[in-house]
Structures are given as C-alpha cells and as structure tokens.
Subunit: 762 residues, 2 copies
Amino acid sequence: MSDRLTVLEDPQLRAFLPLLYVVWADLDLELAEAADLRGRIEAQPWLRPAARAALEAWLDPEAPPDAGELAALRTLLDRVASTAAPEARRTFATLAESIATDDDGRAAARELATVLGLGDEIASVPAPMPAPGLLPGEIEALGDTLDGPDHFVRERVRKHLDSGKYRAYGLPTAIMRDHVRDWVRELAATGLGDLAFPGITNEGLDQRAFMVSFEELATGDLSLLVKWGVQIGLYGGAIYALGTERHHARLAAIARCEELGCFAMSEVGHGSNVADLETTATYDHATRELVIHTPAESARKEWIGAAAHDARWAVVFAQLVVGDARHGVHAVLVPIRNADGTAAPSVRIGDCGHKLGLNGVDNGRLWFEHVRVPLANLLDRFASIDDQGAYTSPIASPSKRFFVMLGTLVGGRITVGSAGGAAARVGLAIAIRYALARRQFGTAGAERRLLDYPSHRRRLLPALATNVVLRLAFATLRDRHAASFVGARTTEIPDSRALEADAAALKVLGSRHGVDTLQACREACGGQGYLAVNRLADLRVDVDVFTTFEGDNTVLAQLVAKSVLAGYSKQFADGGTLAVLRALGRRVATTVIEKNPAQIRRTDPEHLRDRTFQLDALRHRELRVTETAAARIRRRLGAKREPDAALLEVQEHLIALAEAYAERLAFEWFALAAAAAPEAARPALHMLGDLHALALLERRAAWFLEDNYFDDRKAHAIRKQVEALLGEVAAIAPGVIAAFRIPDAVLAAPIAFFDPAHPRYE
Amino acid sequence: MSDRLTVLEDPQLRAFLPLLYVVWADLDLELAEAADLRGRIEAQPWLRPAARAALEAWLDPEAPPDAGELAALRTLLDRVASTAAPEARRTFATLAESIATDDDGRAAARELATVLGLGDEIASVPAPMPAPGLLPGEIEALGDTLDGPDHFVRERVRKHLDSGKYRAYGLPTAIMRDHVRDWVRELAATGLGDLAFPGITNEGLDQRAFMVSFEELATGDLSLLVKWGVQIGLYGGAIYALGTERHHARLAAIARCEELGCFAMSEVGHGSNVADLETTATYDHATRELVIHTPAESARKEWIGAAAHDARWAVVFAQLVVGDARHGVHAVLVPIRNADGTAAPSVRIGDCGHKLGLNGVDNGRLWFEHVRVPLANLLDRFASIDDQGAYTSPIASPSKRFFVMLGTLVGGRITVGSAGGAAARVGLAIAIRYALARRQFGTAGAERRLLDYPSHRRRLLPALATNVVLRLAFATLRDRHAASFVGARTTEIPDSRALEADAAALKVLGSRHGVDTLQACREACGGQGYLAVNRLADLRVDVDVFTTFEGDNTVLAQLVAKSVLAGYSKQFADGGTLAVLRALGRRVATTVIEKNPAQIRRTDPEHLRDRTFQLDALRHRELRVTETAAARIRRRLGAKREPDAALLEVQEHLIALAEAYAERLAFEWFALAAAAAPEAARPALHMLGDLHALALLERRAAWFLEDNYFDDRKAHAIRKQVEALLGEVAAIAPGVIAAFRIPDAVLAAPIAFFDPAHPRYE
C-alpha cells in the first residue's frame, strides 16, 4: 500500500490527485473508462516514465485501492488542496486545475476532468454576503476590541491556520494521529510555544499572549489544539510552574516539540478528586531515587493525552512518601518511553482507543511498576528532599501546599473555557453565514432566508451575543491572571485563590456555551450540519469533552459555590467543607433584599435595556441564592446533620449558586470592557450585551417570578424585548461575524460560502 | 494486506486474534519478545504449518501491520468475540481463552497471554447490582407493560441482537458500510422484514408488529437501524403504500433484501418543502415512458440513504408533467445502478461523505439526466395515466392527493420518534448502571455512589421517567395508526389526517428526548462516556440527526401548531395558512380559562401527585397558548398584515403551542395506558409519571407563573416534590432498567457492568 502512496508525492502528479480520488471514491471505474484514461495519460509527453507508471498503477480496474489507501489519498489531497483558493476547492475539476504545477498539468487535468464528466459539476462563486449592518469602521473597532491587546499573536495564529492545511476528517484514528503529530511540530516551528514560559523561553512577564494564541488556535482543528495544550500547557506548564532551574533547561526543547511529554494526573479511580490520587512516589534514600508505583487498578493513569503513542516523558502526579510520612500529591518527571518508542522498563502503556471526538489525540493509560527515577526528577519548586533525606517545603501546611501547586496550573482551566467560546465562534460564523445564504419556504418565488425566521434567530443570535460577552469576560480573566502571575524563577509563593473560583466559574460557562452553541449550529444547518465537510460535526464532538476535562463542570460548580459561601477568603479547591462551615457561622443572614416596587413594575425598553437594571437583577439573584443556600445548610447543621451530608442535600442549590455567580461575573466583566471600548465598537456591543442579558433573564424567569423580583408583566415585557433585539441583532450579525476575523480557510465549510442548492449566484 | 487478513479466518487461529491485536495495538512488540513468542508458537504441535506460518507473519517486528490491517483485525476480532460471554470479553486474555475452539488453543492462548503480561490485567466479575427496589413480579409486570402486545417481535429482535455481533466503532467509513450491509442482510434473513407489508408478505392487518420490531432494533447499532429503515420502511414502504399489484410483486424480494433500493425524496434545495420539489417526471405518450430529470443543482437528490453505494433502485419523488399540465409530486421506480454496481445510464451518483454519525449508512446524491422508464414504473395507487395518455386519479384535489400520498408514509415518522426513545433507553441503562457501580468523593473510605448525588439524579432520572412516558405514548400512537390503517390492496382512500399531527408532535418529543438524554448520559459518565467502547458516543452522534430527518423538528412543530389552530379538521401538512385562517375566523375567543384559587394555593403532595392536577395544568397551558396564538394572528390580520407574514411573526408562539400540545398528548396517553396496566406495574408507573409530570411543570414554571396559574409557593412546592421523587425513583431505578430487558450484549459498554477503577468486587 505504501508504494502507491509514496509515488504520489511526485509534484508532476499533483494535478491528478483529485481525479484519482474521484475515480475510486465516487465513480467506480469501468474497464473501458480506465483504458480511455490510460490512453490519454500515455499521450502526455511531459510526464516522466515513473510518474506515468504510477498513474497507471492507480488506474488499474483490477487493483482498486483499499479503504486505507483511499483514505490516505484523500488526506494527501486535502493537504495539497490547502494551497488552492476557496473557490477552486469547490469541485474536483477546478481543484485539479488550480493545483497543477504547470500548464501541461493543467491542460491534462482539464482534459481528464472532462472525460470523467466532472467539468461542469459545480462552478460556483461565493454568495455575496448581505450588507453587514455595521459600518466598516464599526466592524474594525469591534474586531479590535474583541482581539484585545495581544492581537499580534492572534494574527500569527490566523496566518498559520489560513494555509488551510490543518484540516482532516473521517480518517482512521492512526492516520489522524499522524497528521496531528505533524501539525503540532509545524506549530512549534512557528515559535508560538516559546510564549508559554516567561523569563525562560521569552522575555515576557506573564502567559497572557500564550493564552490568547491558544484561544485563537481553537478556531482550527481541536485535536491540534488539545495535543498542543498537552505538550505546551500541561507538560511544559507543569515543569515551568512546579520545577526549578534544572528542569527549566528542558523548556526550550519542549516549546519546539523536540521533547514530547504528557501530563499524568488523572487516574481512573480519581478523575476529579486529585487530592486522593493513589499512585505513589516513594523516596529511597539509599539510592536517592524516587520509586513510582501504581498500587491498584484504580490508580492507573487514564485519558492521558499523548501517552498512548507520542510522549517520551510524563509529569506524574503521585503521593510522595518519605520514610513513614506521606506528604501529599507531588509531581515527578518520569521517562515512559525509550528512544525507539517502546515502553520504558516497568512502565505499561495502554491506549484509550476510539473516542467520541478528538481522535487526533492519542489518549492513553499508564501503569508504573516500581519505576525508579533520580530524586532530581522531583519538580521541587515547592517541596524538596534534602541531603539527609528530610522533606522540606517553604509551605508548611500540606493542604495549602497542594492548592498552591495546583493553583499554578489554573491557566489550563482559563484556556479551555475560552477555547470553548472560540470553537463556538466558528460554528456561529458558519451557521449564520448559511442562514443568510439559504432560502426556504415562504411565498412562491420569494423564499425567505433562514435568518428571517424568528425560530432560527432564537437558535443562533442569543448564542452569538453570549459568545461576545464571554469573550470579553475571558479577556478580563486573563488580565487578572497576568496581574497575579508569579514567574517561575522567584521565591515568592504564588496565590491564585482569588482567581480560582472565577476561572472555574467561567470555565463552566465557556465549555457549556461551546457545546450547546455548536449543537444549535448543527441543528440550524439541518442535514448540511450533519455532513463532516461542513465542519460543525467535528467541532461539536471535539468540544464535547470540554465540559469534562480540566475539571468536570459539576464538580467545579460545587467548588465555586463553596468558595462563594466561604466568602472567597478560604482555600478554593479543597472539599471546602470546614472553611464553608466556619464562614457560615460568622455570616448572619441579615442581608435584606430590597425590592423597589417602582423598579419591579417598569417594563419600558429604556429600563429593560439599562445595564444597571440587568446587572442589579443578576446580582440580586446571586446574593439571594447564596443567602438561601447558607440558611439551608445552617438549618441542617442545627438539626445535627453531618456537615458532609448537609452539603450533599443542598447540592442542586449549590450548583444554582455557582451558575448565578458565574452569570453575574461574566456580564459584569463584559459591561466594564464594553464601556471602555472605542466609541465605534460600542453600539454593537451594547446591543449584543442587551440581548445576552435579557435572554438570560428570560431563561431564569421562573426564578425571578418565584422570587417576586419580576411580576408577570415584567416577564412578558422582557420576552417582547428579546424578540425585538433578535431582529436588531439579525441586521448586524454579518458585521459581527466579520469582526471575528476568521480566515476563509478556517471557516472551510462550503455552506459558509454558498447554499449548496444554488451554487451559482447572480 | 489482504493476505495476512485472509489467513486469520482459519479457526485454529481464533484464539490468537486478541493477542495479535494487543501485540500491535498496545504493546509495541520488541524483538526479543517476538522471538520468544515465535518460539512458543513453534512448540505447539497441533498447529497446522499454514496456521503457524500465518502467526509468524503477524509476529514479525520488521513488518508491523499498518493502520488498515490493524483496524481490520480489530473488526474480525470484534466479530469473533461476539460469541463469547460478556464476562469473557472484559480482557483480551480471557477473551482469547474463551474463543479458542479446543483445549490446545486454550492452553496456548493462556501461555501467550502470560508471556505478554496480560494474564492478570483485569479479571473482573460484574458488580452485583444493588437491590432493584422493585419485587421480581413488579419488574415482570412493568416489563410486560412496556413491551406491550407485540412482545414476541421484541423478543425476536433481542435474540438476534444478543449475539453481540452487531457492533463496530472507530472503523473507516468503507469498512463500516460493509459491516452494516452484511448486518442488514442477516436481519432480513430472520424474516422480520416480512412484517412490513400486511396482506402481501404477511397475513397481518397492519404494520404495528413491524413498527414494534423497529423500535426494539433501535437499542442496537443505529446505522443498522437506519439502513434497515431505508430498505424496508422507506423503499419497500413507498412501493407498498403508493404502488399497485404489479409493484407489490417485488415486496417479497425487498423484505429479504434481495432487491436493494432507496427513497429519493429530499432535494438539496428542498429538504423540508416536499411539495416544491423540482425533479420532473415528464410523460412521453409516444413511447409510454416517463422521463426523469434533474433540472437544476437545487433539484439533486440529497442525503439519500443507500444511494451512495448499495441501492439498485430508487423510488424517486418528482413533479409529474403530462402534456402541459403539472400534477404535483408523484413517485416513480427508477433503476439507478446496473447489475455490476455501476451507475445506470444518465444517472449520476455522488457520495455525501463522512457524517457526524451513522457512517454505516451510505448516504448519497442523485442526478437524473432525462432518464427514461416505462410508465408501469409510476407508483399508481392514487394516480395513473390511461391508454389515451390522460391523467386520472380517484382524488380530484391535487393538494388532497399530495397529502393522502404522503400520509401513507406517516409510519416512518412514528418509528423514528420511538426509536429515539429506544436509543435513549440504552443510554440510560448504561449511565444508571455505572452510576450505581461507581463511587466518588465522600468521606474517606466511604465514597458515595454517583447516583447518591442529587445533581446526578437530576441529570438522569427525569429522563428515565420521560422515557417510560413516551414509550407508552408511542404504543398508543401505533395502536391508532393500526386502527386507521388501510391495506394496500383496497380501493379505500386512507385518511391519516387525525394521526398526522399526533405523529409529528410525538416525533418531535421522541427525537429531542433521544438527543438530550444521550447527551446527559455521556456527560454523567464523564471521561468514560467519551470513550467509544462505552457505546454512548456512537448512540449520541447517530441519534443526532433524528431531530432533522423524517421532518425537521422546527418545521414539524409549525405544522402541528397550524393543525391545532385549524381545529384538527383541516389538511395537516400543507402550508395550512388558509385553513388556519378560516378556522380562526370561526373561532371566537370565548374560552374562559377558569382558575380555581383554592386549587392554585394547594401545595400538598397528594395534590401535586394527583394525575388530575397534572393533566389539568398541561391542558390549561395547551388551551391558553392556543387561544393567545389565535388572538395574535387575528390581531395582525385585522391590521391588514399578509397572512404569511402574520404567521411568521408569531412563529415562536406557534412552536410553543406545538410543544404544549405534544406534552399534554404524550402524558394523557401515558396516563391512560398506565391506568390500564396490571396492578403490579402500577406503583412504578405512577411514580415515574409523577416525576415526569412534575419535572415538566417545573421546567415550564416560568410560563405558569407568568400566567398566574402557579403562585410562588406552588412553584416552590413542585420543586421540592421533584426532589423527593428523585430520591424515590433512584431507589427503583435498577428495577426499572431491568424491566427494559436489554440483553447484555446490547448494553455492551464495560461501564454498564463494572467500574473500570474497581474491576474486582467483594
């Protein structure tokens, strides 16, 4: 099989790739046709004998390619096609012509396409987009606001992705993994990975530019994103944040993907409960080694990205045991593969196999059987073992130490949340562009555009507004991360407590938004949305796990709630029970919720579109849900219920609390950012903010009505106002999408450029 | 490549398949290991030389299999493994032993497994399920009630699927299609297809048994289901319902899949708008032929299941043109492939390519270039062309004729809706069994089961209740379909108008339930839910398109609403505008909604759990939403708005109306069926009905509060009652799942049998 594929790399054959593919994928080559084609190929004097022989091998009706060869051909074709303009990529015939390297090839391609009846299949030009609804300067200003201060890295990422090369689908897992491995290396070659390690591989002061590049990368293939995130953000990130100088020496090679690693934290028995991991790292003073061991099946490392195939190293999180003492979870660098790719001695590696999505990422399992590594492999920024074999740490409290260590990794949570938004952004751009091109039903001769239907607006436009709101909220979150960032080379103990709850809250919102929005986009595009060629399918399944990894959303929501209840002052990520209870004891339920009847009765648009009203409502909900949760817990404790059981009983309430907190936070940060935006960006931001806020209040109307914060007339007025806003936002939607600045080759989906039913436009 | 695979079919090699797979998929065979293995194989005297040579070829470290070979090996393995007990399938080693054909093979497998370190990988026994919460007699009665009168066909389907053979994932599309084609033929060989054509291939009076078999089949692979549905339900169904005796002669061959066909209705420009299809069938009296033609790109047939590869025939829906007259959409039998599988003359066939799911179904595109077929190919039950070339029909009105013809196909909509429920049922069984086996967090040493968490109950248990409610509602819908069924051999004109709105309403509910429930199940299983091995991934993406095909849910909802507004008396599926307006004119908004303040204030459990209260609330909502929609439309017409524009403006209201109608209908039918169930089934049905109804009222609380049908205390009381019911249903959930009677080999997911973190149980 590999022979026939190898020869195709010959540049002389480029022009024939599309035709070869069509011949076998679509046409079921007949003998007579094959003879005809071969005759024509013999008549091409410019073909080298080897190239001619290769073509003839591919056109042998007795030896059709098997599925693997055809898939590989398709992949090769997709890569070659990436250099062609979007117009040219619409048909195999135009594609063949456009990628030919010279005139001879072009002429031959044209001739063969005609023989195969492909000549006039679809010769489309993109549909003219409707008027954007915003002035060019407004689109520019909106785009600048959304891109933010690190726009230069966004532009680097866009330029890289715009080659159109980084796309594949429907391929066998092994081939997809091969692609993604190549893509990651090519990305590393651009130097983007260097941004991740301030003070070491770059002279920056924080990781903000890296985080922005990561968000932008999420508009492309999400396997590439996740594999990149594993290598740079998790593997490199752990070494950067938890290691010291001797470990940091590796970071340049890691940033360039010369050293590939993985992040071995999750265990099958403890996906969410990191503090209770079972893997052990036992110190042997005689040899000054750490012995890494998997004591039970539940301790096997699970879902570890890059472990199944590519990683040579792992940062393994394990319970550190020194003598008789257990010091909690620490990170240790462990080689898991030999140079030839085989498993290192006493390391067993498994493959998680096929997944719902992200099949370009080789998730694997790891078992360690008393694997010995030098003590120097302990990532020892926050804890070390001295020459006498004694454990020392600048942070005395084991629990505080655990949270400081984990806190340094909060960046992963921020980037996953904002990546969910970026993936949704692409889906929205595709679905809305299709909704502007596609017409359906209506009175004869004047079918309506899909976006003229209220139900279609309802599906897509509140999500569009929320996307913009969350994007600016994440920008603020990144700024705060940058402001509290402590470089890896200081002795200062970083304190991310204030940030943790906010990062978790926005991660929950961003990942949920990504999944729900892409689902809505898929459905809004009907059958077209189901076809892989239109991108939504892969985006949808790839983003699905964002609600689960980097902290399961349900688990994170409870942590957020406990943090809020504890008044933000207590450690974020422990069970939090004790901190919560202490804070509850101090907190007296005296916060009287003032309801102003005059405000409640107002239903005029000015009032409803007033940021103060919107923010007040969200704040009111947050406060009230917090107070009632506290009261319920106190009541249970008063009745002598165990603290743990008391929290369990109000679990749904805690989740609602986290939701209310996150919704208020995101909108508040958006409102601040929008107010500071350039004047030309503000009208669009204001309209989008209104739609987001009022659609949110409408979705939570049951709560507000039950709380008597809204009366029936107000709920009704809000619904009417949302309907009005849907019409207004529909008018500016093309401009908003333009401000997303997603390159054509990233949009990629044919339906983003024309209605497949009407490929020709006047 | 094919050589190495062919030899593996040798029964002597069966026992080695799992080991060969592990060697290459998981272990990265080393030279020394390979030599050791080969030595051991040479030491097996019972192996034939050919078998030994084959094994050695597979164990050559210099010639590892490529991705295609490995995938094919996996497939072969999955097929062979299907004969093993679920326990044995938990590890490759136990699997190897269990599928060996004799003791020699078994001993060799054991030895090799030990060498490879697989011997003690996972030696699990299924987790003992917790007490079912129902008595054996109650489970039996519940199972009988859910299975219904046609339980014998369910049992046939279960027995067929229980072979465990019909499962594959992660395979290249071409291979997956091959499997599914084989599976469909094997299904046909069981004779289940004969049930579809009463009076012709069976002596039944209706299609109910076939519809029940279809629902049950949806617990298995959904590509198999859809491919089967295309062949029997759509292709065969159209010939049965729209053809006459000369066409019916083919049905026996169709039921046995000796003749494969497809159903070419949807066009890329008109997926939902069937009346406006553009393909033409023009009568040529000179030759007594019909000329089938695709006049524009928008008229290409799109998403046609089985068209891309397998179908030799198509029922093509086209505008019939006789002389100068167009008679609307008619169905014509058209050969699209020659016996050798190549496209028939003047037929062009395309492949829709990779999809989000259902990749075992070869969806394709069709273009016809003046394709001529004999007039006899017109499916002429409701219209024909006489010897003089004149068009005749027993139904004078073209619009009525169209709806009668389409109405005969309503069965497809019913089965898709109930299949969505069946797929969800499997997901619920997997997720709930996992939630009962898996423990997480909690106080040390006593981690809680996932199903002990309120948030986990909330994710899964209302969906479980709704699943049971919808299942009994669909049983009633099938009964009604059966009652109004008109066999294909009568001259009676069937009238499905009364059924159409109900079928569309329940299709929307059933498909939505399928998608949302499987999403919840995937997320509830966290990372495990993301792994393809656990079944949820494929179920989720396969079921996704159920909201789009057999009528897009948004389009169907509007048709339901128009039908309700028109008082059910008017034609269901036309634009409906005129009928609606006429009915609105007659309808006077005098229905006074009586609200009984004493009822509104009641918050006691007896009241909330009273079927009368629940049904009254749903009926009230339906009536009120209908009246307000009518009033809004009338107001617009009074203001001289165009009827079409008036309906467009209230589109969201119409969709809410359809939802209210469907929710009332489903629950009413459920309540009737539950009341008629055997005594032992009733307590469980009552509890599930309460949870479904109250969780639904809670979800619609904003509406009821705004309408002042609930006050704040009532909304609060309902929420508390739902929380209580979640606990009660959690206790009986194991019993309810047992009553689903899903065979182990269909559940298939390892997490349905044990927590992967704790494969051993006390």
